[in-house]
Symmetry: D2
Subunit: 253 residues, 4 copies
Amino acid sequence: MRVSEGQLVLLVSEDDKTYLVQYRPGGKFVFHHGGITFPDELYFGDVLETTQGRKVMVLEPSTAELMIKVRRRTNIIYPREAGYIITHTNIQSGSRVVETGSGSGALTIALARVVGPQGRVYSFERRHEHLERAIENVRRAGLLDRVEFQLRDPAREGYPVGNVDLAVIDVPEPWTLVPAVRDALRGGGFWASLVPTVEQVVETVDALREHGFVTIRTVELLEREILVRRGKTRPRETMIGHIGYLTFARKLR
Amino acid sequence: MRVSEGQLVLLVSEDDKTYLVQYRPGGKFVFHHGGITFPDELYFGDVLETTQGRKVMVLEPSTAELMIKVRRRTNIIYPREAGYIITHTNIQSGSRVVETGSGSGALTIALARVVGPQGRVYSFERRHEHLERAIENVRRAGLLDRVEFQLRDPAREGYPVGNVDLAVIDVPEPWTLVPAVRDALRGGGFWASLVPTVEQVVETVDALREHGFVTIRTVELLEREILVRRGKTRPRETMIGHIGYLTFARKLR
Amino acid sequence: MRVSEGQLVLLVSEDDKTYLVQYRPGGKFVFHHGGITFPDELYFGDVLETTQGRKVMVLEPSTAELMIKVRRRTNIIYPREAGYIITHTNIQSGSRVVETGSGSGALTIALARVVGPQGRVYSFERRHEHLERAIENVRRAGLLDRVEFQLRDPAREGYPVGNVDLAVIDVPEPWTLVPAVRDALRGGGFWASLVPTVEQVVETVDALREHGFVTIRTVELLEREILVRRGKTRPRETMIGHIGYLTFARKLR
Amino acid sequence: MRVSEGQLVLLVSEDDKTYLVQYRPGGKFVFHHGGITFPDELYFGDVLETTQGRKVMVLEPSTAELMIKVRRRTNIIYPREAGYIITHTNIQSGSRVVETGSGSGALTIALARVVGPQGRVYSFERRHEHLERAIENVRRAGLLDRVEFQLRDPAREGYPVGNVDLAVIDVPEPWTLVPAVRDALRGGGFWASLVPTVEQVVETVDALREHGFVTIRTVELLEREILVRRGKTRPRETMIGHIGYLTFARKLR
């Protein structure tokens, strides 16, 4: 697939370092293995040579890599939790989704790739500097056509949209958003939230129950990388022990 | 959201039993809490009453529930692995994907919901009875417009399509498909496969390396349900210990 | 090793069923593969034949099997948590340990095997029927010489012993025992407790902090069985998702 | 408990750094918070003040801390696996155990504390520098009275002892030791081995089966630390993803 001008490419060096870079014909990128100048015609899967004679692979980023490589100040990144949200709700090509807060836009990117140009992600954020960065990150990923960002605290002001299919909540106090989400969701619509601590989960689940949400369910995910080498296959010695607890629920009519 | 004729609804009984049923105005459904007759106008989030005076919620199924509730003979179901595939490859609204084998169509459903009507899933299966069931399950889920099924063994015959974005492999010998997938994928395209045993992973990774695939990575996922009740919060005592190992790779040009 | 009269043996049938039985020369044991009569001379590792011509192995039980096979009404069994306690405290041959409550005596057995005949386990239980059963189970395991049982609630009455090396707490409200344990432990002595819920852990840790305990640490353990068969090696599909949270602490002088 | 001359104490600084130090009256210890001089009379649970006016707790080390803090070149430490071995075999006060290899003596320490002065650990190591270090570490832990070290490769030379209760194997090729262990174990005796890779497990289990061992079982353990702070309780973000696979078996007569 030919890379379009402005599209993000994942550069992978010989020593497996990765860089997410915007492609411009004639654009330059310099790193610890030397520099490259992008050719006028570039395809995913190409291998370029640096000024030091080292090889660089030009790859299409996965959704996970787009999420992990966004410019951000926050530490939390969670492609596997995003994937779990995608298959454990109703989201699909064409869905209308509200997201609170925007954070660095990482989760926004995962949702926007699924809803597609016919769908819509409404993303709300109450901190101005986060919103700016999220917009810039989603723009770089080429997905701004299907995302509407707004500086707003839906816990106090409610959502300016209604009848949405899914609400994804990624703020420290999800329980404050339950009434607003209830108003914004259509009948049968889904709630999905992520928090790091047990006490936040308990508050959230209590609020969901009080407001009549049903099929409430909380899970956590563990991911283990397996180092596969014939004769020496074993799990990696380090792993991430905790990202957060995912809570799902549905609204009755 | 109003339920259309023929659409699948998830019925949830008072005792949390769930049933995936096709909606027909005037259609009947009988279960251990009595019977219901579907009204002419039905909305997701409605609550119906059975002939025994018990309540039944009418909910929109999640992708996971569509996957789990397909008619099948095989035991393996894996919404969380499907979610991980979705966020750790390039799949998105509009993608062109090959799937081998179709199995019961569960994974096909998850992929088809993401690629949307502009995308395409080409699903190959070598066993006739599996193919029939997969087609029926995808049809029931309302996604047959974007899936092309074919009775074929791509390991021997190759893929009849090319330049695809992603190949998802769910057969016992993924390594036999590596050359065919290599031909079918475009540059930078993704490989994703799932197998239950370590030895299968080793064979698969070896074949991917031999055929020049890059960024090869294997993971397994663990999922824990948390029972959230104020004062009594704890993980569920039982959990699934193993589904399989996911392997990802990319093709160079 | 020759089996002594009265010693517990683990019988393993051809289909891997296990039975913990007390050996008596001439004693009989009947199960689904027929009956056996114990010979006058029996050794661990012997294979007997049943009246139906099936084989039965006579094995020495592991500590875990002694724990799991005690006569009990409670569900919680935790050889792996017992092992973790043993290596993460100061317990060793010769130690003096208090245990509260006795439960079915399973944990008592694990502790008693380590402290040996020179050590001592003081085991307290407030429910009479539990105490009776624990005593019987420890007697059957041949360890009653080093265990002193007492019907007592140390939360209200304190411990009748002092200067102990370790306190192991297995009751629903460990925090009620913190002051009594503080009095009973010698300087540098260890606290180890096990509870199933997060809220219990929080209460326990708070109480330990308030009463000056140090090096407080909480862990949970997950255990996965691997089915090892050449060419088909994989983790078992089911596993125990949760037993409880272990909390450790030490007393200053 | 009064600390004896030569006994190991765990020093814990105000910032939770830990040091395992041998106590000598009048002995000095200097670290980043200043220096301390050990008093003539020292008790576990004492708090000393450094020359910089900082506090240091004097604690009795747990078995795990004795294991982790041994002087060593190898990376692998596994108090939780040691605990699992202790409760899933027949080891107890008075047992006779063979260990191969000695490594840094960490596992030797855990076994020696359980078998007590009436028991015996026979520890074999084929590399001279390892043996030296193991002896030194076990001596420092005050357990040399019950351990017999020998420079020997039992895979080639067999074991010089027989009729042992348990064999613990911690070498890269456990399968080479199966025949020798079979000769050394008494009927009903236990095998316990630990290896990091799947292929090693498969070899080991195959050899055990071939040589008639029974009740063969393989497990792996995962440990998660929980950070318990009221209102902010959650698992630690990092964890150890893999230590190794434990395999257990028993010998028939």
